[in-house]
Symmetry: C2
Subunit: 501 residues, 2 copies
């Protein structure tokens, strides 16, 4: 076979895998949005069958040989795009072939059991009952990490899963530059005059929220020809291809703004996937690679746009018209300060912009301790409380609102948390650059005009898909690596204004 | 391999195919209910990939050998259930392996093109432009029929696709016994005093219809733990397994009863699939085989139950409460007679119980003429008008409302139409037997109690899945073959009352 024939074959195989992944994502979407309760077992069989097909197609001997051949021939090539494409396919191949089948099966078995054990432990505030499961999962995930060695740090292999190229030392350095200033900012805010957000906790008619949220997504530039908005218990974004990227939200009558910010967040994710390069449709390049970059897109729209005074200068009258009984007497300044109220809460998912990263840093430190063996699972609850006191000045009254609050560890998703915080940092770096290039943006936002933002993201981020790692892309766009400074500057400026610091 | 090992292997392969078919059905459901418009092409690729996987798995050399081996060993067995199961797998294998790949591809290509040509011809009342496509499709479908020969009649192979075991001569004999009496009944009705159904054509609030229809489905016994009701342009039922059987309906503000009867109809289909034998879950037996039997279930609930005076004796007050402005002044008798109004319409899908089968007989006669070569496509429009005059006493003013009205021929679905009429006949045969065994049913219906009906169908029809052909099952339940007499008796009694014949 010629080089071109081999490449065509590898691409055809890859396109089949991408299509199967799209089908699998559709089944997952349906499971959370539509599926009748009794169908869970059959759906599990369907997903397992697809998972098996994806595994077999990805790890086929043919693919292995094609990859080796093409890599050898590409060694001296200067076609960096093509090399990147083959590398991405190699990465998927390695992710599945390096972990021995027995370990993989045990991981699936253990996470299934651990998930139930965690849910029970959380409900009953009983960490001790979850501890042996967690210990076992850490042991398994350490074995998984070893499959991808040698690494400078066992945690590197886990970061790599969610953010290729990211190193533990690098993230520690970034967080190191963040911790002190962010803790100081939170402390200063806690000592300042508090803002009033009582308007948030009135009753907001859900049927009006259902009308409002699609208007928000439209305003951001969401393409309804290639997506839809539904409801699910936990909001999420999923895509089955370039032309079908769906978002969900969750409506609560007790807090209208919860659905608003989750819709802005998910729309940010969806705009990324809708903005992938159509010329690369069906190839690995037309996909997303870095969870941090993905999160930077949702956070930029949710926070830099969606929690800005300018955005609401335009949109607040609409919101007031939707909920006159709740908001007619609340002026824009009160509203803006209210939606940016800082609270040192126990719960990560409820955290505001000022405190969110501190929740993440705490988790990453514990994960690294577990992975390196310096820390035993039994020590987690006490350490959790200590760090909460140190970073946020509060102590969770129980483990349910402490070490047991997140689902991630029960699913062996160690290494995922940092991407949330890195996404925040990157969103500020991109925002800083964007404002420098387009100083007209604040005024445009105040007029409800957001297309300069979207076009810039399309051009500088979205179109590249999986071509670059997060660090590579940030450097390409901003000229520097991932850095905490723009985020800290952004937070300081924003909260100095809101809290009159 | 031992006999048991071979059987286990064949069953495992078959379960994979069933699961893939369920996944494919989910994609089809989503396409009609949810899919954003721009995703059509990607969805097509997903479905094509699944179709290829199903084809490969069904026609694998392994499956062919397992089938031959097991059939040889089963020759002298008296395990009829097991023989039936293997026969069903053989049937699926043959359906895919007997048609040469080139013919299959040409059929897919030709139907895709013909569908567009038909839609255009129908919109423009231009049969001549569709004629060459139809001629080509008939030629292809004749080649397909030859792959399954030798048959007494080329049409046999087509009937077999939708209703295994059904023979052309048999259907002709059944329809022969039906035609004269049904034509006479329609004539007598047309000469009687007409009934008033003007209440149907008032404006019915769609949001109220949305609340009403689930209540109807619940009343029939639809299991919401294992299904859901959505909206689509054309109502349909689809299942992805025993525990996920979904129905759709379509709401029109101009006719509330259109959604009511379509929901009753689709619920009837869904009750059949929800009633398959759980012990056979994952095997070919837990599926439906005969389109006629399937249609008998939808028709029984739609017509025998849903257009009966007793059912509405219970349910009409609810309907009036939903639409007081339209129905408060309409009494039950007027309502009952109105929903059973007979009209010799041009359009099959709008036909009432008295005229429906005549539309079908006309189509089957033309299909047989085409298949046997006695009839050229160019002769269809004139023959259509002749037969409409003869059977229904009306002449369509154009081909759009005549020979071009149905989508089926453009999709090469020759042989499907008869199952609609046979479903009507079987529904009356089952109903007749059911009433004989349970004379309390009319009174139960008048009290809104429908579980005796459902339980009887579960016991006598649903649980058998694909175990019996339509004719076998009808004989097992009623002691006779498929026969037009119970249906004619039912129609005569019903309409004699309504039209005071």
């Amino acid at each position: 076979m010629s080089f071109d024939d081999k490449l065509d074959k590898l691409r055809a195989n890859t396109q089949e895998i991408i299509t199967l992944n799209g089908i699998s994502a559709l089944l997952g979407w349906d499971q959370q949005v539509n599926m009748p309760v009794a169908a869970a077992e059959e759906r599990g069989q369907q997903l397992a069958l697809l998972g098996g097909l994806i595994y077999d197609k990805t790890t086929s001997q043919e693919n292995g040989e094609l990859l080796s051949d093409l890599e050898a021939e590409l060694k001296n090539s200067s076609d960096e795009d093509l090399k990147a494409e083959v590398n991405l396919i190699r990465r998927q191949y390695n992710q599945l072939t390096r972990i021995p089948k027995a370990l993989n099966l045990e991981l699936i078995r253990a996470t299934t059991i651990s998930h139930g054990a965690w849910a029970k432990a959380k409900a009953e505030n009983d960490f001790a009952s979850f501890e042996p499961h967690l210990t076992h999962l850490v042991e398994l995930i350490r074995q998984v990490a070893d499959c991808f060695g040698p690494n400078d740090h066992p945690y590197d292999a886990l970061l790599e899963t969610y953010d290729p190229g990211l190193k533990t030392a690098e993230v520690q350095a970034i967080f190191g530059g963040l911790r002190e200033r962010q803790v100081a900012l939170v402390r200063a805010i806690s000592e300042a005059q508090q803002v009033d957000d009582s308007f948030r906790w009135r009753t907001y008619d859900v049927s009006m929220q259902r009308k409002l949220n699609p208007i928000l997504a439209s305003r951001l530039g969401y393409d309804w020809q290639r997506g839809r908005l539904d409801e699910s218990a936990h909001p999420f974004t999923t895509g089955f291809g370039l032309d079908d990227v769906r978002i969900t939200t969750h409506y609560s009558s007790a807090d209208a703004l919860s659905s608003v910010f989750s819709t802005l967040h998910e729309t940010g994710h969806a705009l990324y996937e809708q903005g992938l390069n159509r010329k690369q449709q069906g190839t690995v390049l037309a996909s997303t690679l870095s969870s941090s970059l993905h999160e930077s897109q949702s956070r930029l729209w949710e926070n830099m746009v969606g929690r800005s005074r300018q955005f609401w200068k335009f949109f607040y009258p609409t919101l007031q018209a939707f909920f006159p009984e709740n908001l007619a007497e609340v002026n824009l300044d009160t509203f803006y300060r209210g939606i940016n109220k800082v609270t040192s809460s126990f719960i990560r998912t409820e955290a505001d912009e000022a405190t969110y990263n501190l929740h993440i840093m705490l988790r990453m430190e514990l994960e690294i301790g577990l992975l390196s063996g310096e820390l035993k699972a039994s020590e987690l609850p006490e350490l959790w409380r200590e760090k909460m006191r140190e970073y946020l000045g509060v102590t969770p009254p129980d483990d349910t609102r402490g070490v047991l609050q997140d689902v991630h560890w029960s699913g062996a998703m160690f290494g995922y948390f940092p991407t949330y915080a890195l996404g925040n940092l990157i969103s500020a770096q991109l925002w800083h650059k964007l404002l420098a290039e387009h100083p007209e943006i604040p005024e445009e936002m105040a007029n409800g005009e957001l297309s300069t933002i979207l076009n810039w993201l399309r051009e500088n981020v979205h179109q590249y898909g999986s071509r670059y790692t997060a660090a590579e892309l940030v450097r390409k766009v901003t000229g520097t690596g991932i850095s905490p400074d723009p985020y800290l500057d952004y937070l300081t400026a924003k909260y100095s204004d809101i809290y009159r610091l």
